[in-house]
């Protein structure tokens, strides 16, 4: 499978060094980095060829978490696939729920009510905060900074508490439904959320203080994992990585969905396109997410949370218990699923790692003919080999950490 003769011609070997190598006849050392390595937070195998400390050739192999998400989706009704999307990016599940449900809504041609959109935005931004906290904490821990990880996990717990009070589960949320959400926000949610957001921000600032000014952390992050802006675009990279390269591409801004068009937030961009900028972009995005949530809590309108569309939303329990028509309706909707018109749609949302798109082909029955997930982690991982080749072995860890590959999403 691997060709031992293959070398990356992009790495020039200087004259005297080449002569020395010729004399010493040192073959490059083959190092297996992974599949389950303590310094990577994801199951991935990186094969490295090392000349001393320098990586001269590398090969990235993903697929250790492949579960056949798309095949599974083809055999389930539209509503049955929502719990599976939780397992795509398990550190920000509500974002995946929202992406999938919005794609199906686009297929049906349903517009969701205002209050539902605001609650979805809150859920999405909470998930994004949790994801960034986990990404920064885990990457810092892989660089031997353990304390920030503890603070960030503590802060993440607070955010998971909020998600818990929204939907009753911390990680496997199953929150969003086609044409609505599973349950309305608890009436005391704003009072519950505000102190927790403040405390999470305080913990986040502490981790920021520990990391950003730390010379060891900066030396390991600055200038490593560089890829130019043009290369990032050509390799299909999106999300914080692309924005750290100076390209302000954010789906929330360029194709506004839900209520993002009305909210006031900034898109952080970097300029050096290295790991430290990726880290700083994530820091700033965390603060912007908090800003978005506070705005949403302020503006939260009253009203229903479900689209009044009998094709997708199951009738209310009270009516099912007492009336024949609704009971029949419930039976039809559960056993046939909602039937969208035939056709195909692509809908993308900005997930924590980039553009998360769902491409759904419908043949007019209750099950999708094809349900494709465009996973940001997968596209972001593909230039990893290019980023680390030519660098030092020690740079592999921060680069991989900042790509923030989530196995469930990358391998699906």
């Amino acid at each position: 499978m691997l060709d031992p003769e293959r070398k990356n011609p992009a790495v020039p070997i200087e004259g005297n060094q080449a002569a020395a190598l010729e004399e010493l006849h040192t073959p490059p050392m083959r190092l297996q980095f992974g599949p389950s390595h303590p310094a990577t937070h994801g199951t991935v195998k990186i094969t490295l060829d090392l000349e001393g400390e320098q990586v001269v050739w590398s090969d990235v192999e993903v697929g250790y978490l492949h579960r056949g998400f798309e095949k599974e989706c083809e055999t389930g009704y539209y509503y049955q696939n929502i719990p599976y999307t939780d397992r795509l990016n398990y550190s920000s599940p509500i974002l995946n729920n929202t992406g999938y449900c919005m794609a199906v809504e686009k297929l049906f041609g349903i517009a969701t009510p205002e209050r539902c959109n605001y609650i979805r935005v809150i859920g999405c931004e909470l998930s994004r905060m949790a994801d960034h906290m986990l990404c920064i904490g885990a990457s810092a821990m892989e660089l031997a900074a353990f304390t920030p990880m503890l603070y960030l996990i503590e802060g993440r717990e607070l955010i998971l508490d909020m998600i818990d009070s929204l939907c009753g589960a911390r990680v496997t949320t199953n929150f969003v439904r086609i044409g609505g959400i599973s349950a309305d926000m608890p009436h005391n949610f704003p009072e519950f959320a505000r102190p927790r957001l403040d405390r999470a921000l305080k913990l986040f600032e502490d981790a920021d203080k520990l990391l950003t000014e730390n010379p060891v952390f900066r030396q390991r992050m600055e200038g490593t994992g560089y890829l130019s802006r043009e290369d990032l675009i050509a390799w299909g990279v999106t999300g914080p990585l692309l924005r750290a390269g100076g390209e302000p591409y954010d789906v929330r801004k360029v194709h506004p969905y839900l209520v993002y068009g009305e909210l006031d937030f900034d898109v952080p961009v970097g300029e050096h396109s290295d790991n430290f900028d990726r880290y700083l972009v994530r820091l700033e995005e965390f603060r912007q997410s908090r800003r978005i949530i506070l705005q949403c809590l302020e503006r939260m309108p009253d009203g229903p949370v479900d689209a009044d569309d009998p094709r997708v939303r199951w009738p209310g329990k009270g009516r099912v218990f007492n009336r024949m028509e609704e009971l029949i309706d419930q039976f039809k909707l559960v056993t046939e699923g909602g039937m969208p018109p035939a056709g195909e749609v692509y809908h993308a949302v900005e997930a924590a790692n980039g553009e998360l798109g769902f491409y759904i082909v419908s043949d007019g029955t209750g099950k999708p003919w094809k349900c494709r997930c465009r996973a940001p982690s997968f596209s972001n991982m593909s230039p990893l080999s290019k980023m680390i080749t030519g660098g030092q072995l020690a740079d592999v860890v921060p680069t991989f950490g900042m790509i923030n590959m989530i196995g469930g999403e990358c391998d699906r």
Partner: protein
């Protein structure tokens, strides 16, 4: 009940979206079909010309499709050419099924058209101009080959490997076409519709390093 019903979109809308106008002006007769449905623009291209079309779409300053989002395939196994073009037949069938479910064996399935079995689908976007386009290329079953777009967008590298892995479509000119999710000895391509969901794989003998060594006692 909601007051207004979402209107059904006709499959091939006669009016052109502004993006498709630009695309058609540049691509001319390379475009076999174009559709605008639910706000998505889509063109169909012959598979022989995909590389040429890709170059034009990327390099033209008016179009500037520099970001390849996704490459995937659709398997229209035993199904009509395109669900949207045969919409009426399917809708009729559904109405018949609702009225007379016991006669479902008499349904008129839309005849299998001359179109090939697979379609390779590309999703493009432009970071500067913020528009999206979908390209579809039909690929026949007996010769599942299409030119790789890796020279135009390196992002296609892994995405095409994935499509090869799961659908068995060969991308000619790909620098490194091997399976990405599954192991090399895997038989078949799992996302094809004729691969059973609970299909089993033969057990492979381990041939890697250390295979000949005697087993260590646990």
């Amino acid at each position: 009940m909601s007051a207004e019903k979402p209107e059904e979109k006709a499959p091939a809308a006669p009016e052109l979206s502004p993006l498709l106008e630009k695309v058609l002006a540049r691509l001319g007769d390379r475009v076999l079909e174009r559709h605008t449905a639910r706000g998505d623009d889509r063109i169909h291209v012959a598979r022989e010309r995909i590389l040429e079309v890709a170059r034009i779409l990327r390099d033209d300053p008016e179009l500037n499709f520099d970001l390849l989002l996704d490459v995937t395939a659709i398997d229209y196994f035993g199904q009509p050419d395109d669900f949207e073009t045969k919409l009426q037949v399917w809708d009729q069938n559904r109405a018949v099924m609702r009225r007379l479910p016991q006669r479902r064996h008499e349904l008129v399935l839309p005849p299998r058209g001359p179109e090939p079995r697979f379609a390779v689908v590309y999703h493009l976007t432009s970071t500067r101009l913020a528009h999206r386009l979908r390209i579809k290329c039909r690929v026949p079953e007996d010769d599942p080959k299409i030119a790789s777009v890796t020279p135009v967008w390196p992002a296609a590298n892994w995405l095409e490997r994935e499509t090869w892995d799961l659908y068995g479509i060969v991308f000619e000119g790909h620098p490194d076409l091997r399976r990405i999710y599954l192991y090399e000895e895997f038989v078949g391509h799992p996302l094809r519709k004729d691969y059973a969901k609970h299909g089993e794989q033969p057990i492979q003998e381990y041939v890697g390093p250390g295979a000949k060594e005697p087993r260590r006692p646990h």
